[in-house]
């Protein structure tokens, strides 16, 4: 196995370094290796101080998102050989503050996510003895696509609006709110309306569509946002025509 590829990894230790720097390492170029394997090779064999997040290495946990040659990617699902002969440049996700090396601070996303209330809201929880909340296959289909989101934040790294305006709720949080809005078991859409139809919510989106382009799970956040613009406009018209409370 003589073939190798150069990995150029961004290193940054905010307490010590003035600015980020690049570290080049040769790693074996194996057909079955993904970028994450190459990073783990560096960590295990070359330089144990390199920091990055990963967990499941199978596209489920959403923690290994990084910029690979400038594009947001899940490094566990991005083959090294696609970048031969190299070099492959790996940087932390755009639009997030860096904690160290390739690890970014995701607290802003977590706040936005919880504000969107991405869970089932019921007006009255029925007791277990009354059984499950049943749902047909068609009802499942209306939101299933949005439920594939793994919170990897690649869409935030790709979104130019989020890059310019950090107050913007962002693609995944809105898509996940819509995932529950469209769920037949959910009764909380009016609780999500205010946060979504706020000027920092859906109206911040200018439909660039990069979020949908980069999503590794084929979720369509841009579509969710446009869909919700129509819903919010209808609600706005209702509140305008029926100010005494025509909304649900």
């Amino acid at each position: 196995m003589a073939e190798a590829i150069t990995l150029e990894v961004t290193r940054y230790h905010p307490e010590r370094d003035e600015e980020p720097s690049l570290q080049s390492d040769e790693v074996p170029l194996r057909k079955e290796w993904v970028v994450l394997d190459a990073l783990n090779y560096v960590k295990d064999k070359v330089d144990g101080t390199l920091s990055f997040r990963w967990s499941c290495r199978m596209g489920i946990c959403g923690s290994c998102g990084m910029m690979v040659n400038g594009a947001p990617k899940l490094t566990c699902a991005t083959f090294l050989s696609d970048y031969a002969p190299g070099p492959v440049r790996i940087a932390p996700l755009d639009n997030f503050p860096v904690i160290r090396d390739l690890v970014v601070d995701i607290s802003d996303f977590l706040i936005k996510l919880s504000r969107a209330k991405p869970w089932l809201i019921r007006k009255r929880e029925k007791p277990l003895s009354e059984g499950e909340y049943l749902q047909t296959a068609d009802e499942l289909d209306t939101y299933k696509q949005f439920s594939m989101c793994i919170n990897c934040m690649l869409c935030y790294a790709a979104c130019p609006v989020y890059g310019l305006d950090p107050l913007f709720s962002g693609p995944a949080a809105i898509a996940l709110a819509q995932r529950y809005n469209l769920d037949s078991r959910d009764e909380g859409s009016n609780q999500r309306l205010d946060i979504l139809s706020h000027s920092d919510g859906i109206w911040g989106c200018t439909f660039v569509g990069e979020c949908t382009e980069v999503c590794p799970k084929n979720v369509d956040p841009a579509g969710a946002i446009q869909q919700y613009k129509l819903t919010a406009t209808k609600e706005w018209m209702k509140s305008f025509l029926m100010p005494w409370g025509g909304g649900e």
Partner: protein
């Protein structure tokens, strides 16, 4: 929750204008820009067009097409300035210029359409 935004109204005009412009203006361009001058279709005479333009339904159609198209432009240009030039802090001036321009254009369009003899 703080201010409920008035964006829905502006967005409604924007999307209605987008649909109207995307569906209808190509037809006008095709007819008056290509088909009539190149002789693919027989061009209607001045009198025929004038009679058509006088009809109240045509006047309304032209007015809606001009006005919605302008509001579509206003919204898009506003965000182009916000993000393209990154001057969102000037939003009050930008909004006034964009939507004010669209309102002005709407008034001019109404005036011209009403003046068709």
């Amino acid at each position: 929750m703080g201010k409920r935004s008035n964006e829905p109204f502006l967005w409604m005009l924007f999307s209605a204008g987008g649909v109207a412009a995307a569906l209808l203006i190509p037809i006008h361009l095709f007819l008056f820009g290509l088909a009539f001058p190149l002789g693919w279709l027989e061009a209607p005479g001045y009198d025929t067009l004038l009679a058509l333009a006088r009809h109240p339904v045509t006047r309304l159609y032209l007015f809606v097409l001009c006005s919605l198209g302008l509001f579509h432009w206003a919204h898009r240009f506003r965000y182009t300035l916000y993000d393209g030039l990154q001057i969102k802090h000037l939003n009050e001036i930008i909004n006034t210029l964009c939507y004010g321009g669209a309102i002005l254009g709407t008034v001019v369009a109404a005036y011209l359409i009403l003046r068709i003899p």
